[in-house]
């Protein structure tokens, strides 16, 4: 028995040893996992446990040149549900669908979807969100967020552009400067269980969002509004499809205003503007059709569409010819109403012809045969060289997306006929902004500037991060040619085809144009006017285009007065005071006078006094014969042609 026992004791001990060895093996395995693989697995486990919630960064603002905010943010909220945390499903569905005005079906679908977090609605205004928050429903999350807000609704809509649901720029400056404006989203890292429920007391890892930088632009709200008003007025009057106005500083390329009416409301960019609403009222559109229409509505024709510039392009031909010295101001020409080029008669716009005229007269009259002749003197090859130095063969480099380039014949295809038509602005296409840029170079002493809006980038604290600089090329034309051109264009407005743009007290230069839209003989025109002021030292250059005016369509008649109207407001705004010549004071009754006393006078007596002064409109208010009150008061100094109000009793 004893012997037997000792054997089995040894055996048992052997087994114990084996088991201890196995256990040691497992301990080694544990050490391997818990020491050497700890970090790797722990990281992967953490990835599994962590839920990331992003905090949207506030998008940078866009300011105009006077510091007004033209693109702002307003706080909104995103409502979402966490499936696992919902306690009273039906209550959640009914209250959300009621407050958010969504169909119960939509809400139910999202509430019942098994996901960690499901968005019900974003861009909910703060009041509505507070209403939901106050209900204190389990599983309903209200996250603060920002939404782009444009205080001026449709001001410069096609320039500014708008943002999408993730605050990303969709068109316009919002796209171009997206990387500066967007900022960096922050995030909250929380621990969550396998069922997606966040653990309350777990330490949150929070990465603060960095707000976007602000963009300071050269756009000027006041000038934009002046231009927009004038554009709207003429669009209505002429029942035009569209009216565009660009105002730019020709010296440095800063764009003050870029109007394209009809504009659209930036705060609801997916809704049709008024014009489209009227047009497509009662018409059901497929979403594809609607998209196409919206894209047209958003399109900025000043930079994205090309057109035949017509007579305004004579500025370019003239500058090239003067620069090339193939024409002098005193050269004589004869216009019989057409010019024979090779086997074709190309007509002048004046049927009978302008007869004998100097080069200066040729510009004033906008005479086609003169420019055909001048163009021919320069020659196709040299002309194309000038197009190149004038920046017409390249994009302007404006800081907006979607810019188009000019469409021109290949040089080797340019024969006499093509050259002749190009000389007065036909048979090729450029964008309005390209024309404006070239014209700027011709009148500013020869510097080819880059048209732009962006001036400066500042961070949220207001520190300048980047001053935007743009390329300029000097000596596109000589100073001398530039001076001559300014003089010539001032003459066009003073007593030439552009005289309707004449503004007493200011020296304005300009050139009219009437381009027939393609296909020819369609009866559709673009009336345009290119103007700048003051003529001797241009501070602002304007290009106005009226697309498809109904009735009279001559640029000189239709477009020129609109530019005068805009400049009349813009020039004083820019600090350029009118300086009247004696003749102007006489002709336009410029000056001021003192208001006489009307009180106590009878209506007939008042009328007598009025006739001796320079009043414009007289308003009588009230029934009776005796003047009780007057406005302006007696003794006040007012401009001639002021109105007068008399209160009778």
């Amino acid at each position: 028995m004893t012997k037997h026992k000792s054997i089995h004791r040894k055996t048992l001990f052997f087994i114990v040893l084996m088991i201890i060895a196995a256990i040691l093996g497992l301990i080694v395995r544990l050490m391997y996992l818990m020491i050497f693989h700890s970090e790797q697995y722990a990281k992967r486990a953490k990835d599994l446990h962590e839920r990331e919630r992003s905090i949207k960064a506030e998008r940078g603002m866009i300011y105009d040149r006077t510091g007004l905010v033209i693109a702002d943010n307003k706080p909104v909220c995103t409502i979402s549900v966490i499936h696992n945390q919902i306690k009273d499903k039906e209550l959640v569905i009914s209250s959300l669908s009621e407050i958010l005005q969504l169909s119960e079906e939509t809400v139910r679908k999202r509430v019942e979807k098994y996901s960690s977090i499901e968005r019900i609605k974003s861009n909910v205004d703060k009041e509505t969100a507070d209403q939901i928050r106050n209900l204190g429903l389990d599983g309903v999350m209200v996250d603060e967020d920002y939404k782009r807000y444009y205080p001026y609704d449709d001001l410069a809509s096609r320039v500014l552009g708008f943002t999408g649901s993730d605050n990303q720029g969709i068109i316009g400056l919002e796209v171009e400067y997206d990387s500066y404006l967007s900022g960096i989203n922050g995030k909250i890292l929380t621990l969550a269980t396998a069922h997606g429920i966040e653990i309350d007391n777990a330490a949150e890892n929070r990465v603060e969002p960095i707000p976007g930088n602000s963009l300071y632009t050269s756009l000027d709200v006041t000038m934009q509004m002046y231009a927009e008003q004038a554009a709207k007025k003429v669009m209505e009057k002429k029942q035009a499809q569209r009216v565009s106005i660009i105002l730019m500083n020709p010296q440095n390329g800063e764009i003050y205003a870029m109007v394209n009416v009809p504009e659209f409301n930036l705060n609801s960019p997916y809704e049709f503007n008024e014009v489209l609403r009227e047009k497509y009222d009662n018409i059901t559109l497929t979403s594809e059709e609607k998209n196409t229409i919206l894209n047209t509505m958003w399109r900025n024709p000043c930079i994205s569409d090309t057109y035949e510039p017509g007579s305004t392009f004579k500025v370019v031909t003239a500058a090239a010819a003067l620069e090339e010295k193939v024409v002098s101001l005193t050269d004589r020409f004869f216009c019989p109403g057409y010019k024979k080029v090779e086997d074709r008669n190309i007509r002048c716009h004046k049927a009978g012809g302008h007869g004998s005229e100097s080069f200066v007269d040729g510009i004033k009259n906008s005479c086609n045969p003169v420019f055909m002749e001048v163009g021919a003197r320069v020659g196709a090859e040299r002309m194309y060289d000038y197009y190149k130095t004038f920046g017409l063969r390249e994009k302007t480099g404006v800081d907006l997306p979607g810019e188009a380039n000019s469409i021109m014949h290949k040089l080797e295809n340019v024969e006499a006929v093509e050259l002749a038509t190009m000389s007065f602005g036909q048979s090729f296409q450029i964008t309005p902004l390209q024309l404006l840029r070239t014209a700027s170079a011709i009148i500013n002493g020869g510097t080819l500037v880059t048209p732009h809006f962006g001036v400066e980038i500042k961070n949220a604290e207001g520190t300048t991060i980047k001053t935007l600089t743009y390329e300029t090329k000097s000596q596109a034309v000589s100073k001398e040619t530039s001076e001559t051109m300014k003089m010539l264009l001032e003459a066009v407005v003073a007593d030439g085809s552009g005289k309707k743009a004449y503004l007493p007290g200011f020296r304005i230069g300009g050139k009219t144009a009437t381009s027939e839209k393609l296909p020819r003989r369609s009866g559709k025109y673009i009336s345009s006017f290119l103007g700048f002021a003051p003529a001797q030292d241009p501070k602002v250059i304007a290009l106005l285009m009226i697309d498809e005016p109904v009735g009279i369509y001559y640029g000189g008649t239709v477009a020129a007065p609109v530019v005068a109207e805009v400049l009349e407001n813009v020039l004083p705004y820019l600090g350029i005071e009118p300086a009247y010549s004696e003749q102007e004071i006489l002709t336009y009754e410029i000056g001021s006078f003192e208001i006489p006393d009307f009180i106590g006078k009878s209506k007939r007596e008042a009328e007598e006094i009025i006739s001796a002064y320079y009043f414009d409109e007289i308003y009588y208010i009230g029934e009776g014969d005796t003047v009780m009150e007057q406005f302006p008061l007696s003794g006040e100094m007012v401009n001639k042609n002021s109105d007068l109000i008399l209160y009778l009793e």
């Binding site: 089995h8 088991i19 818990m34 269980t193």
Partner: protein
């Protein structure tokens, strides 16, 4: 033995083993509360549900263990005076019947039928079968220890144990493996000739291999084991590895496990050791393993100092069972071997399992209680 000496001899009782059992069970309660409270609160609205149930069984189990420890273990192999049957034989047939019942009408859990449900209590007959095999093999061997010196004796023991193993292996491979190990070790220890065990070891390995690779769901487990990162069925083991590894040296602190929050399904069951690693770290895990080594060491001591071969073999059997269960459980959670459901003794959740285990420890304590020593 002379009766004169008897007076000076004292009955021994292994209090350190008792203490270890109680300590491990209470530690188990703490870990069960830690691992189950989240799921219990989520699904039953009562964070203490699992803890209460386990505590109830522990409270019931301790008196049973103490009672069993006072029974002289020779009682099991003595015939009842009235019926002329030995309790061990009753147990043997009872186990056969229960195993058969569970095969045909048991309730399913995890793809295998292993449970008998009586009211609220779910009960796994294979737990009892383990005790039965310990007692039955010891009984067979002690009856004629010399027979084991050749293969025939071993085969005879095997022949009687086979029905039990056969009924278990159908649905519960790992328990069958434990039962085989118990039988094998008991015979191995008792035999004076060890040569043929090597041959049997090889044969068992081959048979095991065929079983493992032959049955589809097990073969799936092999794939999952080898490609734990990518295999869809490796999910649970991978989560266990995440838990273990993210524990690091000192762990996240008791109750701070992330993986128990639904990532490891039913973390209070077989995977509880991985949460111990996550919360208590490498040091905590090694401490728990040390406790098991101590427990095994006490059982080993009882085995070698038991009054007779029968007691010694019983202790050996229990020793084997606990050792193998601990080894397999830890090996599974560390993905050292393919996944198989073996609870960690005393710690994993399972009321009847704990009850049976405590009764078993009562038997071992009973063996210790028969040891006599001189004052």
């Amino acid at each position: 033995m002379e009766s004169g000496k008897k007076r000076k001899k004292k009955k021994y009782y292994d209090y350190s083993l008792l203490f270890l059992i109680l300590f491990l069970s209470c530690f188990g309660l703490v870990m069960i509360y830690s691992t189950s409270s989240y799921n219990a609160a989520k699904y039953y609205g009562d964070a203490m549900k699992y803890l209460k149930r386990q505590a109830l069984f522990l409270v019931m189990g301790i008196p049973i263990m103490l009672f069993v420890s006072k029974i002289n273990y020779h009682f099991y192999i003595k015939k009842f005076p009235l019926f002329r049957v030995k309790p061990i034989n009753i147990l043997y047939f009872l186990c056969l019947v229960l195993q058969a019942v569970v095969l045909f009408s048991g309730s399913e859990a995890g793809g295998s039928q292993r449970w008998i449900e009586i009211g609220d209590i779910r009960f796994q007959p294979s737990e009892v079968t383990k005790i039965c095999v310990v007692l039955f093999c010891s009984f067979m061997v002690q009856a004629a220890p010399r027979r084991l010196d050749n293969v025939k004796g071993f085969l005879r023991v095997g022949f009687y144990t086979l029905p039990l193993i056969g009924l278990v292996v159908v649905e519960n491979f790992s328990t069958a493996l434990i039962i085989c190990a118990i039988m094998f070790v008991i015979c191995f220890v008792a035999s004076r000739k060890k040569g043929y065990f090597i041959i049997f070891g090889i044969l068992a390995a081959v048979a095991g291999g065929i079983l493992i690779f032959g049955v589809s769901y097990r073969s799936d487990r092999i794939d999952a084991w080898l490609n734990v990162e990518t295999h869809p069925k490796g999910f649970q083991t991978l989560q266990s590895l995440y838990a273990i590894a993210s524990g690091g040296l000192f762990g996240k602190g008791l109750g701070q496990s992330m993986q128990k929050l639904g990532f490891i399904p039913e973390a209070h069951n077989d995977m509880i050791f991985s949460i111990i690693c996550e919360e208590l770290g490498l040091f905590g895990a090694i401490s728990v393993i040390m406790l098991f080594i101590l427990l095994l060491w006490r059982i080993f001591s009882i085995a070698i100092s038991a009054q007779d071969l029968f007691g010694s073999l019983i202790a050996t059997g229990v020793f084997t069972q606990i050792a193998v269960q601990v080894l397999i459980n830890i090996a599974v959670v560390t993905n050292t071997i393919p996944n198989t459901g073996i609870p960690l003794p005393f710690i994993s959740y399972g009321g009847t399992s704990l009850l049976v285990l405590l009764a078993e420890m009562g038997i071992v304590l009973g063996v210790s209680n028969q040891i006599e020593y001189e004052r």
